[in-house]
Structures are given as C-alpha cells and as structure tokens.
C-alpha cells in the first residue's frame, strides 16, 4: 500500500506497517471489547464472554439511581445544547459576516475555554456557584457545560458559514424578499445541517464530560459520568460496561449523524447552485 510506486517493501516499510497496525488495534480494541463484554452473562468481565445476556443492561435501566443519573445527564446536555447553539450561532454569524477590528482576538477568546485545563474551569465554577449557593442544580451544570460547548459550536458554525455562498441571499434580496424572509427561507435551511451538527457535538460534549458535574453535582443530582466515577472508586462493577457501551453508542450516533449531515449539506448546496 505504502510502496505503491513499484518499490520493494523494505524493512522500513514493514516496521511502519507493524507499528501502524499495533496502534490501530491499541486504539479500537478497548472500545470493541467493552461493548462485547457488556453483553456478558457471567459475573466477571471475561473476554470472550462465556455466555451472552442483557443482564447488565437490565441492571443499568432497572436501577433507579442509574436511571435518575441518565435523566440528569439528558437534562444537562439538552440545556447545554440549547444555550451553546444559540450563543455560538449568533457569535459565529457576527465573526464571519461582521467587519470589525480585533476579530482574531475575539475568536481566540471564544475558543479559550478549550485551552484551560478542565479541572481549573471546574473548580473555578465550583467556587463561583458555591458562593451563590447554586451547586447541585441541573442549571448550574448546564451553564458550566455551556462554557465548554460554546467553542465547539463556534468552530463548527464558523466553518459552515465560511463555506456558505452568499449569492443565494443576494438573489433572494434582489427579488424583493425581506431580511427576515431571506433568513428564514434561504439562510437557515442552507446552514441547517451545520447547525444540527454543531448542536449534536454540543450535546456530546456535555453528555461525556465528568469534571464539571463532579464538582457541581450534589448527592441527589448526579450525571451518568459522575455515577460511573463514584462506582469506579469502589469496584469495577460490570454494570458500568453496559453504561459505557451506551455512551459509546451515543458517540457513534453523533458521529454518524454529523457525517450524514455533512453529505446532505454538500448535496443541498450543489442542488440550489446555479
């Protein structure tokens, strides 16, 4: 594959392929193994599992604490998605369309939460909300996650808007459509795949994140990731394999959907393109 130009595969090529294969297995094997052992029928996590069953999934969805954590995670992630997508879309529009000085600086500032180690953001928010006596609430966790998800939305939306052909809007305006009509009937439908994809990644950012809810959650209100953390400190409970596989499935759905949306976005543009 590498020595495509008719050279013999030398020892260098073989070494490169060997390391590559090893790295690929190293990357994917743990994910696959966790998903497989989550269907284990045995009390211990053996690979391959001696028998298959859904007992760990029953444990996961049958326990009120795990179910409660799932509900909290969904609530936090949904609120985060809402906040981050609205704020991020507006900011990206302004950055791509507006003409003002210091744009680079503003962009860097909007992305700065990705630079700061999450543990620092988490304790900073913990001190902040503790003083307001607002820890242990879904809203506090969602606001914290909005800080982390906002850069994700801004990056995706800025890329989407940069690739957007403004001639469609100008055509609509010149044909007598008002600004709002143009926005609703031309701009939003065309950037919709990008907005959806940004929203999906905002959701995933919140759903997968541990540190902010670890500090902001109370004993009653816990996210899935916090529940996993608390049980891992005690023992390696096979139920976590089922919960983990569930989180991996969510990741797959988000990645798959965003890939489809990207293809759809390209298709839409070529469809309307003159």
């Amino acid at each position: 594959m590498i020595a495509a130009e008719g050279q013999r595969a030398g020892p260098g090529t073989i070494a490169v392929l060997a390391v590559t294969t090893a790295a690929l297995i190293f990357l994917i094997a743990p994910v696959i193994i966790i998903v497989i052992v989550s269907f284990s029928g045995a009390d211990y996590l053996r690979f391959p599992p001696p028998s298959l069953s859904l007992r760990w999934y029953e444990r996961f969805l049958g326990s009120s604490t795990w179910r409660g954590a799932l509900v909290v995670s969904v609530q936090v992630a949904t609120l985060t998605t809402l906040f981050a997508t609205v704020l991020g879309l507006a900011a990206a529009l302004s950055l791509v369309r507006g003409k003002f000085r210091g744009k680079g600086l503003v962009y860097a500032f909007l992305l700065s939460p990705t630079i700061v180690p999450t543990i620092i953001t988490a304790i900073a928010l913990y001190f902040f909300f503790a003083r307001l006596k607002a820890t242990g609430s879904v809203l506090a966790m969602a606001l914290g996650h909005t800080v982390l998800a906002l850069p994700v939305v801004v990056i995706i939306m800025a890329a989407t808007l940069q690739g957007f052909d403004r001639r469609f809007e100008m055509a609509a305006l010149s044909l007598g459509a008002g600004r709002l009509v143009t926005l609703r009937r031309i701009t939003l439908p065309l950037i919709a795949p990008g907005v959806l994809s940004a929203a999906l990644f905002a959701f995933l950012t919140s759903f997968d994140e541990l540190l902010i809810p670890l500090f902001l959650s109370g004993t009653e209100v816990q996210t899935l990731t916090v529940r996993i953390w608390n049980s891992l400190l005690l023992e390696v409970d096979p139920t976590i394999a089922a919960v983990s596989s569930f989180l991996i499935a969510i990741t797959c759905v988000v990645l798959g959907a965003s890939a489809m949306l990207r293809r759809k976005g390209e298709h839409d543009e070529s469809h309307v393109a003159p």
């Binding site: 490169v16 392929l17 900011a91 990645l255």
Partner: protein
Amino acid sequence: MTATAGVAEVVEASSERLERREQRRFLALLLPALLTLAVLFVYPLLGIFFRSVHKTAFTLEFYRQVFRTPVYLLVIGLTFRTAAVVTLICLLLGYPLAYVLANIRPRVARLLVIVVVLPFFTSIIVRTYAWMVLLGRNGIVNHYLTALGLVSAPLPLLYNQGGVLIGMTYVLLPFMVLTIWSVMRGIDPALTRAAHSLGASPGQAFRRIYLPLSLPGIAGGALLIFILSLGFFITPALMGGPSDVMIAMLIEREVEFTLNWSFASALAVILLVLTLAGFVAYNRVVRLARLFEERA
C-alpha cells in the same frame, strides 16, 4: 454629469450608513456569547487568582507553600515527567500511523480514520474504564497471560505508573495522529517522487524530504500532547497508585478533602500559567509552520 455624481454620492453615503447599522447589528450578535464567557469563565478564573493571593489580606503565603514543600515540588516534577513520556510514546505510535493515513488510498484512509476518531470522541471516563477492565488484577490481559502460562501470578498492570502511561497514551494518541496527519496531507507527494528520480533511496528521500516537511506536525502534536498531559486528572486518578499524584489531582484533593481553597487556587494558577506558556509556544510553532507552507 454633476447631478449623477451627486446622486451616486448620496447613494453611497446612505449605503455606507446602512452598512454601519448592519455592522452594529453584527456586534450585537456577538455580545451574548461574550457576556456568557465573561460571567461564567473569566470572572470565576479571576476569582481563583484572587483567592490564591488573598485570604484576609494580600499574601503570597500559598505560593511559598507550594515552592517550599518538597512533596509538592515532587508532584510538579512527576507531572512533567509523565507528560514528557506520554508525549514520546504518542509520537512513536502516532507518526507512523499518520504517515500511513496520509499515503494510502483516500478511500482506505477514510475507513481507518474512524478507528482514530471514535475513541477521540468517546468519554474519557469510559476510555479509562475500558483499560481498567483490561489491565486489572483479574482483568482480561492478566487472564490471558496466566491462561497461556506466560506468567504464574497476575502482573501488576494497574494502579501504578505503567497504568497511568498506558491510559494517558490511549486518551491522547488521537490528538497526535490527527495533528500530524493534517500537516502530512499538505505535503506534495511529487517532492518525494522527485527525490527518488534523482537517485535517492527511499530512506534518504524520507529523511531529507518528508521528515523535515512533517516537522511542524511533530512539533505541534508533541506540544499539544505535553500541554494537555499537564492538566490531566481522570485517567491518573483512576489508574495510578497512591504515589502517582499529578498537579490536577492535588488540586482536587485540596478542594474536596483538605478544603484548603486558597492553596488549591495557587496550584491552579501555577498549572494555568504553565499551560498558557505551552500554548504561546504552540502558537509560535503553528504560525511558523504556516510561514514555511507559504514559502514552499
């Protein structure tokens, strides 16, 4: 003649006014996001900074405490060492993988990239848990090793420095691969071919042409992994032993157990400064890379 010029001027002036109004609207769109970050990010961070130098009065006591206590210096040293080793392992595994991704048929590359991207977007706690299942005393790896008769007793693979290195490498390797790959995709394959046709051996062509051109990817990736490693918490906390303490874990302990928030804040400020210094260097390297690209 003058009349049309006058009209043009008026039109231009009014369109300029329209433009300015529209610009103000764009700035207004930016405000909500900026305000959100100001309240929920900048202000809390300033709070940490303030707390680190102020208790009842201004003091540098907490910083002094960090730099005077050998244990804390040990933790900082260990954090740096761990970050350096993880960076090196990621580079050794990631460079060949990125090279293959950049040089195989795009169709195959797209498939293999999924293998890199899926773990990249999987929750860190899930990825860490997966390795705990694999490496534990009764874990899958030890089960196979004993079943095959390779070891008589289970190996201590978890809750030590080795476990931390494996877990952190696992979490960070996709960053390295994607960074190097993005640079390698910009390298013109005609350059290596030209070297071949001028009589260079494959090894020579790689060393003298490809490697220097991919250097920005190596530098950028290595810096990124190093910086991210410095602030790592979840993986070392779960996979390390009692002595494998990194700065982020120390911060968490001070907040949750010792309740010494001022000291935790001082540690956080130190970690933040180290991280920001790293990103300044990263920015230089990436900008330098762009400079090279423009010249090439």
